[in-house]
């Protein structure tokens, strides 16, 4: 039995005048229009943070705004079958790092040299999660805020579950370090190709789940400011 299913992962990274925002999402495989859901939510993350910077919403309303924008972006006929997970990070100058997650996937790496991990998903079995869905009221986001004073250096990876489920426990920060170093060695124009090559030749056997990685590197002391992969 075989069904043609589009890639259900989506991601969006963008640098703004106020900082940078990145999001990745994985549509729930059982939902017919989940590929629309993942694209809607990554766009919604960006719109929510722009609204926050404009002063239209408070910090406490960011995830509610993401949810609202995600639902509004879906045509009504898709809403019953567009569930998705989502992981995001927003580094706002002068404020700090906003992190959030719903469903599975992970945000990991190191902050000021200390390993960091924000991970969702079920402790029971893989792919059993509570995703974001227009049919499910009051979604519960897992969030964290790290103030700017604690952000001398950031090495971050956002990874959907096609990646996160295969990472050895305790090796998340090391993997982030490895990928950031490997991808950033060489010319900027080759970075995405290098990362794509790693994902397409994934080291775990029989691991064909959709995979998305977003890498972010920042050092306060770098004269050129932020770098990202």
């Amino acid at each position: 039995m075989y069904r043609h299913i589009p890639n259900q992962d989506a991601f969006k990274y963008r640098a703004y005048g106020y900082g940078c925002v990145m999001a990745a999402a994985d549509g729930v495989g059982s939902d017919r229009y989940s590929h629309f859901g993942s694209r809607a939510v990554v766009q919604a993350v960006h719109e929510a943070f722009c609204a926050y910077i404009r002063g239209d919403i408070s910090r406490a309303e960011i995830t509610r705004s993401i949810t609202k924008h995600y639902i509004l972006k879906l045509k009504k006929r898709y809403r019953s079958a567009a569930s998705t997970t989502c992981i995001f990070a927003a580094h706002i100058a002068g404020q700090g790092l906003y992190l959030g997650q719903i469903g599975d996937g992970m945000i990991c790496g190191s902050i000021d040299g200390q390993p960091f991990l924000l991970r969702g998903g079920s402790d029971s079995f893989t792919n059993i999660v509570v995703p974001l869905s227009p049919m499910r009221p009051s979604p519960v986001w897992n969030t964290k805020f790290i103030p700017e004073g604690c952000l001398a250096s950031i090495r971050l990876m956002l990874a959907t579950d096609g990646v996160s489920e295969d990472v050895l426990p305790g090796r998340e920060a090391d993997l982030t370090e490895y990928l950031v170093d490997r991808v950033n060695a060489g010319r900027a124009c080759e970075r995405q190709k290098k990362l794509l090559d790693i994902l397409e030749n994934w080291a775990t056997p029989k691991s064909l789940d959709d995979k998305t990685i977003v890498l972010y590197r920042y050092s306060r002391n770098k004269p050129e400011g932020k770098e990202y992969g």
């Binding site: 495989g29 079995f125 893989t126 990472v167 050895l168 090796r171 490895y178 056997p205 029989k206 789940d209």
Partner: protein, 235 residues
Amino acid sequence: MSEMKDFVYQTARTLPVILLLDTSGSMFENNKIGAMNHAVRDMLTSFKHYSSTVASISVAIITFGGASANVHLPMTAIDELDLSAFQDMEANGMTPMGEAISIAKSIIENKEQIPSRAYRPTVVLVSDGMPNDRWEEPLEEFKHEGRSAKCYRMAMGIRVDRGSDAYNVLKNFTSDEEQVFDASDAAEISKFFRYVTMSTTARIKTANPNLVPSMEEVFAQPQVDSSEIDDDFPF
């Protein structure tokens, strides 16, 4: 120098299948035990021959007969299973189903046997009669507590009348009457295990192996209809 294999698992995710099989004395009648042995071997052979690119299958078999339930086959990756060494089950004694359910639960809750990255297990109960040990409490714990509560359950009654106490036990196990199958002879026993085989292999072909297809979907012809894909971006 580090490589990707230093950071990620070098084994595939598994899709576990756990069989709880009645080997009580009544299974000797009409050679039900022979039909079940044959069907289970066919299923294991099919699993072995099937080449999956998405997940590996692992199987455990727990029998309940005699004076106690036993692990007939511990959780084993199908690639590592030596079919020539697989022993047929024998029928005798009582029906300690509750004990079998408790053993299955202990396997499922053990993350060394079924890690968190495994797909949702399928648990299959096959019986031809009423259990005669304490089964209600183990079954309630299995259905409502811990990781076992998230497993997919199906059951087959061999010559069990619908509406009988034995049938109601099976219905209680699955919580869904549609997942209780009837078998009255060897052919139907075989068909049921073919369904278990095909639904398992169908799961590992899809993008979401946690979705369990119905019997109708499993036995239908595969179809690919790209006209159903709606790529109209909805913004």
